[in-house]
Structure formats: C-alpha cells, structure tokens
C-alpha cells in the first residue's frame, strides 16, 4: 500500500488540525454509508462480551491462509472475528460462516472504491468495536509481540491499559522462501512461516509525516527487489493494528495511520523506545505468483494501479528474493535483538 503522499507532509498548525477533524468526520460518514454494501452471512455479534478482543479483516480468496490465521489469533486470545468477504469463490466464505467466533459479511462492491476495504471495516468497528481492543489485520499478516508464546493479547492489552497506552504499533516484516517464488509447497492449516521463513534484517528508514504526524517507515525486501529505482513508492512498513477503539476513530490509510492524530504518536515516544510488535507478512507463499497475475488485471490495489504493474511483473517473474545476507526467522527475541520490535519495558 502506498502511504500518504509526502506533499501532505507540509502545512502543520491549527488549520490542519481543523481540516483533519473534518477529514475524520468525512471518513466516518463514508464508512457509515458503506454499511449498505454489506450483507450479513453470519451475524454472531450478539456473542461479543464486554472487554472482548476483536479482529477485523477484509479478504478475498484466502482459503489456504484462513485455517492458520484463525488458529494463530485464537491462540493469542482474539474472542471474535469480524470479517468482510469481498467476493471469494474458493470456499473462504463457507469456511468462515461455519466458525462459531466469526461474524461474516459479504460484498461484491469495489475494494478500491471502499478505500481498500477500510470503509467497511471502519463501519464494523464503529458498530461493534467501541471500547474494545480491536485488531485490524489482513489474512496474510500474523501479529507477534514480546512474550507472545506465553502471554495472550489480553495480558498485553491489560498492560497497555495500565500504562496508559491505547495504541500498539507493529512493523510489517516480509517473509520470503529460500528459493524462487512459487517453487515451494504449502499445506493449508500448517504454519506458513515454515515455508516462508527468511527476511531482511534491515534496512528501514523512518520519517515523520505531516500533518497527521504518522511515522513513515519504508525499506525491507520488497523495496530492495522491486522498488530500488522508485523508493518513494516502496511499501509502507509501519502499522498500528491494535487500538483500543472508539467509534470516533478512523483509519486513514490501511492500518498505517489513523485519526485523531494522537493515535499516530502511540508507537513512538519522543525519547526511549515504546512497545511494538511485528506483523509477519506471509504474502510470498507459493500462491503469490498466480494471485499477482489476477490482482494485476483486477487493479483493485494501490491508489494508482498503473504505477505498480512492474511490481506484479516482478513477482510473476518468480524471482529469488533470498540472498546470503538474509536471516532465518527464529522468534520474537531475535526480532527484538535486531531492532525490528520492542518489548518496551514489558518484562
């Protein structure tokens, strides 16, 4: 996803604050109106209890990832999943509709025109996520954080509550296989990080963007392989997927930035190191080659899809992303050691 353009990085001040306020209202209004796009296939939201942790996601044809996705987040302690299915034809919807902790909506409307699904998800968050910790993740993103094997999201959010934080940021870390893309086999229901288990330990660059004050972190393997000549287009890696939601909040750009503005400061104190996690990005499972062919023709991703034809072509060409400087993923302690995440004082 492309982040806010750097033109927006200018003009701080009161006027912008006022403008952002209206921007947020506009986004909320759009989202509110987009509720008509959604048809409920399985509405189990009545089972959501106070204090439950919710996961919100939009997906299309993720049958190979869903079993592990659900397994991973259930294990972390997500109590309920709010899912928008954007026209899957591979059985994803059936699988989801059968899950006791999933509420499912379907839409055939344009993903791109719904701000890449954000309008739909914002509506669901507005409707069901108020005062809940909500997690916005894609089906190919697995959140991990310090001590995630032994401590649940409830432990984490409890601690965040105690320390007065309502936002938890995460770094999107692209995992890739050792050989050429598409040459591996992945058995749905097994851990995808067994198939794609290498990553670039750096480099990342960060800059702060105005007027929203969000951090813009770029870098990593996709930049190295596909965007070296167009670094300003390279993927945004910072996310704020876990927020103690209020119906007045709105994500602006995927889960990279949000309004009100202070949510963007949640993952970066002026000094010191705040807590943050990592979203393991399993995009480069073998199916990515075929999917890229489809996505290239659908043109539903990116603000300016024509700019990204080369990106899809790069993936379709089945490159080997692995290099001798690649690092094999072994766990969160390694990622913290490498500076990709922070326990932020949570010991």
């Amino acid at each position: 996803m492309v982040s806010v353009s750097s033109e927006q990085a200018r003009h701080p001040g009161l006027i912008d604050a006022y403008r952002l306020r209206w921007k947020r209202r506009r986004l909320l209004w759009r989202s509110f109106r987009s509720r008509h796009h959604l048809t409920a296939l399985a509405d189990r939201t009545g089972r959501i209890g106070p204090g439950d942790i919710l996961a919100v996601t939009t997906l299309r044809n993720e049958i190979t990832r869903l079993p592990w996705f659900l397994h991973h987040y259930r294990r972390l302690g997500v109590d309920h999943f709010l899912v928008v299915d954007n026209g899957s034809d591979d059985g994803s919807a059936d699988l989801l509709a059968r899950q006791p902790d999933v509420s499912l909506w379907q839409t055939a409307h344009s993903y791109r025109e719904a701000r890449f699904g954000l309008d739909w998800m914002t509506w669901l968050q507005m409707r069901h996520g108020h005062r809940h910790w909500t997690l916005m993740v894609d089906a190919d993103e697995l959140l991990i954080y310090a001590h995630h094997e032994t401590r649940s999201l409830r432990d984490l959010t409890g601690w965040l509550d105690r320390t007065g934080r309502d936002v938890f940021g995460a770094h999107l870390l692209d995992l890739y296989p050792e050989g050429p893309l598409g040459a591996q086999t992945h058995d749905p229901g097994t851990d995808p990080t067994q198939v794609v288990n290498w990553f670039d330990a750096g480099p990342c660059r960060a800059q702060r963007q105005r007027p929203m004050g969000n951090l813009w972190v770029q870098g990593g393997v996709r930049e190295r392989a596909f965007f070296a000549d167009r670094p300003h287009r390279s993927p945004t890696l910072n996310k704020i997927p876990l927020i103690r939601w209020s119906r007045r909040f709105a994500y602006v750009n995927s889960s990279h930035s949000a309004l009100p503005r202070r949510l963007n400061f949640g993952y970066d104190g002026p000094g010191g190191a705040a807590p943050s996690g990592v979203l393991l990005h399993t995009k480069f499972l073998p199916e990515v080659v075929g999917k890229s062919e489809i996505e290239k023709s659908r043109s539903q991703h990116f603000h300016d899809p024509d700019q990204f034809g080369g990106y899809y072509d790069g993936i379709i060409g089945r490159p080997t992303l692995w290099t001798p400087d690649s690092v094999r993923y072994t766990g969160w302690r390694q990622l913290e050691q490498l500076g990709l995440m922070n326990s932020g004082g949570w010991t």
Binding site: H171, P231, G272, P275, D325, S343, G345
Partner: protein, 566 residues
C-alpha cells in the same frame, strides 16, 4: 494460633485475594482484609460471604483508597488495629495487597520471623538517601501541599508545586519527626505497630500526614523510626517498578525467575497468571530451600527493561523508536571512522588500512554512482544494497542502518567532497564518529587525471567550495564527533604521525607501531599544478602552502619514502 498476621489491602481481583487469604489461613495465619470502599456494595457482600466459612479471615472498616492519598494509610491503620485487638498471639503484622503472592511455604516465613522476634522489616530511608522518587519530589513531599491529583490533574499539580516553590511556602514538620520513605509493604512487630497506633500525638501526626504526598510510603516509615529498637530497612515483599513508577507485573513465564529469587512474597501478580497461583499456592512440595531472599537477578532483568523503555538502544530508528532531533542520546549504535583525503594520497589505502587494523574498510560509501562496500560487495549485513538511489533517498538512515546492522564490528569508510554531502551534520553531531580529514587532497586525483585543464579548474572550484562548507560544519559548536583536520601540506610533511594517532584511537590495545607504511602517490609537480590553477583565476587554499618547484627539479626524483615514527 500463629504469630504472624496478614493485613491485606484489596480493591480488585477479589477471587485471587480470597485464594491467597485462604492460603495464609491454612498455615494458621489470621488475615484481616480491607476492601476499598470504591468496590460496589454487592460485590463486597458476595466476597465477604464467600470468605465467611473461614473464621481466621476478618474484614476491617472500609476507606476509599486513591493512589498517593491518605486512604491507604487509614485502611492500614484500621486493619492493623483490628489484627492486634482480635489476635493477641500475633507478634508480626505483614502488610500485603491482594496482588501479593507468597513464594515460599508460609511456615518458612513464620520461622524466619520467629528467629527475629524484635525486628521490624520496613524500608525506611531519609529523603537524602533515595533516588527513586517519581515526579522528582523528595523532601518537598513533606513540606508542600498537594490538593491536586498527580494522575488526573497533572498540570494543576505541577503548577501548584511550582507556585509554592516560587513563594517559598513550607509546611512545618511536627517536632521530633524525621521524614523517611520506603516501600509501602512492611512487616512490623506488635510493639512497634501498637506504639505507632497508640501514640498520644497520633492525631497531630495523622493531621500532618493527611496532606503529605503519597503518605503510604512515608507514614509508617517515619513513625516506626520513633519506636523501633531494630529496624531492618528492607521490604520482605519483592516489588519492582517500571519507568512510570508503577509496579511491574509478574506473569506465568516469570515462574522460574520468581522461584530462584528466594523471596517470601512478590507483587504484583497478574490475576490471570494461573500457573503462578497454581505453582506457589499448591505445589509446596517443590518449594525452595531455606535461604535469604535474593532478588538480585530479578533486579537486573527489570532494571534492564526500564532502561530499554526510557532510553532505547542508541542508533536504532524504527517503528517504535524515532527520537526527536537532539534527543537521540547517540546517533549511531557504535564507533566508526571516516577518512577523507587518505585514499587520494596513498596508494591502496583501503587495503592497507584493512590489513593493519583488521577492520572492515569501505571505499567511498557515498560516491555518486554506488556505495563502495569493502571487497566490492553489492550487499552487506541486513540486506543493505549498494544502490545509490536507495541510499540517497535517506542518506543518514543509510549510515545509521549500516552501523546498526554491523554492530560489534567497527566500520571505516572514505569520504570526500565529491560524495553525497547530506550526512555532514549527522556525522558532525554523532559522538561515535571519528573523522580524519586531509583538506585539499581531492586535488590529487585531478592533478593526476588526464582531463582538459579548464574542466579540472571547474571541478577544483566546485570541490573546494563543497569542502569549505563541510569544514564549517565540522568546526561548528554543535560538533560532537572526534574530528581531526590537517591541510595536505602539513600532512605530507610527516604523514605517519597523524595516521598512528588515529589508529591508536581506533585500537587502543593494538600494536604500538605500524609495521608497514602505506605508499604515498607521486605528487611531484603538484605545487606547479596548484600555481597553474591560481594563474587561471581559481585560488586553491585548502591544501596549505605548497612551494612551486623549480622547472629544473621536475626531472625524475626518487619517490619520497614515508618514514615511520619511532
């Protein structure tokens, strides 16, 4: 009936509190529970009913407890009073919270206290001796007034403190009291505790402490000093604090850490930490050997966590660490060396430096066409590529990434006015940078090149302007880097002396003298070259003074052999 009584202050997770209370009573220790008045009546009633089957659990008069307020002291007073009155056998009273968990068999604690019948365990230090106060207030806790909440009305709180300081307001400390502070979790003997509670001047003291900030950390700590015959100034409760002054929470995965601590009681335990409660409240068979409490290991782990949180790691810029300008501590994660002009003056300087120091020596990392990594590599640690476009998109991030990715191995690189100049301020402000500059040495490649003189003249003017600007930055008052600057003329007088100095600084324990000297390039005729530039209207001044050689002297002359400093 046991000689140890437990006073328990509870405001949440009542089921856990009951579980722990029953654990105490099972070993014979009576428990008096104080439940915060803010707990709703119905919840309180249920809790009392649920505990009623145990005659050794009593409930004291309820007070409303706010953090840093008097309520906690009042609660401790009433509960302690009740304990002393109702259980005459009790010799030691232990103040605990609902989130406290006994780590060792209760009998061991009883024995430990029985062996020290007159000792009061209460952390109690004078205000001069403590450095851990939150909010920066120590003695002023006792001499100012605090009508505003620190947590909810911070701005008012701070403003009012400032105001009182300005007008020089001071409360009078009651006569005979020497303010002491310490952990609020104590274990006092009946003698000391009853003396505090029955003090004829208690009304005066209470009135005074009501207005002290965080009295629960000073009331008993100060008053027990008046009566105790034997104070051991430490808390028997293991409690660690985070950067905000809030207690760290212990989770299931702290089990081994807690086991090894040999402490009697720990707080604060996460109510959902089932394994901890399971392990410490039931598996008494696997309990620890009798030993003195030894929290040192836990101290280290948690101190490190606090530092990580408040300071982060130097030179790391990421998702959750992006310090503002000037607040970075150090800009990079480790020391590195920048050489300017050396590879122009010496043949194969990089190979020579790598050979004599064993360090990773890069070429011009900021060269216009690509980052010249050591040994012609196109990618180094962390997937950092030599792509000039990516590097120039954010050159300071490229540098901090390079240093971060190669932690533990000092990096050296060449630099010069022909390279990307956007890192100059970063270099200058970075205390980790060791920068050695031979000014004007960029002219040597021009001198040796086979280019038209008008082109050379233009290029020389450009490079001289750039290097002058760079030197202004390196000499500015904000510069923190270790900078050494020589003019080319003074440098080639005795080149090995400066090189030896620089290398000694890089490797303090390295060889005292460099075995083999690098070879200077042939610069015979350089003076004449500079004069030609001058004649054409370009005034090269960064090289220092070079004599213009006589035309007759330009006949082949043996290459000057650099000498070694002995």
């Amino acid at each position: 009936m046991s000689t140890l009584g437990i006073v328990m202050l509870v405001h949440t997770a009542l089921d856990r509190a009951e579980q722990v209370a029953r654990h105490w009573t099972a070993s014979g220790c009576p428990v008096v529970i104080h439940v915060d008045r803010k707990v709703p009546g119905g919840v309180y009633e249920t809790f009392v009913r649920s505990c009623s089957s145990d005659p050794k659990i009593l409930f004291s008069k309820r007070h409303s407890c706010d953090w840093g307020g008097w309520g906690i002291v009042a609660a401790s007073q009433s509960a302690a009073r009740m304990m002393l009155d109702r259980f005459p056998d009790v010799r030691h009273v232990y103040l605990a919270s609902g989130a406290c968990l006994p780590l060792r068999p209760v009998q061991e604690l009883i024995d430990y206290l029985a062996a020290r019948p007159r000792t009061d365990f209460i952390e109690s230090a004078t205000t001069e001796d403590v450095s851990w106060t939150v909010g920066g207030l120590d003695i002023e806790r006792f001499t100012l007034r605090f009508p505003f909440s620190w947590r909810k009305q911070r701005k008012l709180f701070d403003a009012y403190v400032k105001f009182q300081r300005r007008i020089g307001y001071k409360r009078k400390i009651p006569e005979g009291l020497v303010p002491h502070m310490g952990s609020q979790w104590w274990c006092l003997t009946r003698q000391t505790l009853s003396a505090v509670l029955e003090d004829p001047k208690r009304r005066t003291y209470d009135r005074y402490f009501r207005r002290v900030w965080i009295p629960d950390e000073s009331y008993f700590q100060t008053l027990s000093r008046l009566y105790s015959t034997d104070i051991e100034s430490r808390s028997l409760t293991l409690s660690k604090f985070d950067f905000q002054g809030k207690p760290h929470i212990f989770y299931d995965d702290h089990l081994q850490l807690l086991r090894r601590s040999d402490c009697f009681v720990a707080r604060k335990i996460w109510p959902q930490a089932d394994r901890l409660y399971q392990a410490f409240l039931t598996d008494q068979a696997t309990a620890m050997k009798p030993a003195e409490p030894n929290p040192a290991r836990i101290d280290r782990v948690f101190a490190k966590a606090v530092e990580r949180r408040t300071r982060g790691r130097d030179g790391l810029y990421m998702q959750s660490r992006f310090p503002g300008h000037g607040r970075e501590n150090k800009l990079t994660s480790g020391p590195y060396s920048v050489f300017q002009g050396f590879s122009e003056l010496f043949e194969d300087f990089e190979a020579w430096l790598a050979g004599s120091t064993g360090l990773r020596v890069h070429g011009h990392l900021f060269a216009p066409d690509r980052a010249e990594f050591a040994d012609g590599e196109t990618m180094i640690n962390g997937g950092l590529t030599d792509h000039a476009g990516l590097r120039d998109y954010n050159p300071t991030a490229f540098l901090s990434n390079l240093i971060w990715n190669t932690r533990g191995e000092r990096q050296c690189f060449q630099y010069g006015p022909a390279d990307n100049q956007d890192i100059n301020w970063f270099l200058a402000r970075d205390i980790n940078a060791q920068i050695s500059v031979v000014t004007g040495a960029w002219a040597v490649p021009l001198f040796r090149s086979n280019r038209n003189f008008s082109e050379i003249r233009k290029e020389a003017a450009r490079l001289q302007r750039i290097e002058t600007e760079q030197l202004d930055i390196l000499r500015s008052v904000w510069t923190k880097a270790r900078v050494r600057i020589w003019t080319m003329a003074e440098f080639i007088e005795a080149p090995m002396e400066p090189i030896q100095t620089v290398i000694d600084e890089i490797m303090p324990a390295g060889p005292r003298h460099i075995a083999e000297a690098p070879r200077l390039v042939d610069i015979a005729g350089f003076g004449k070259f500079l004069q030609n530039l001058k004649n054409q209207g370009m005034h090269p001044y960064l090289m220092g003074d070079f004599p213009v050689e006589e035309p007759g002297e330009q006949t082949p002359k043996p290459i000057r052999k650099p000498y070694l400093v002995q």
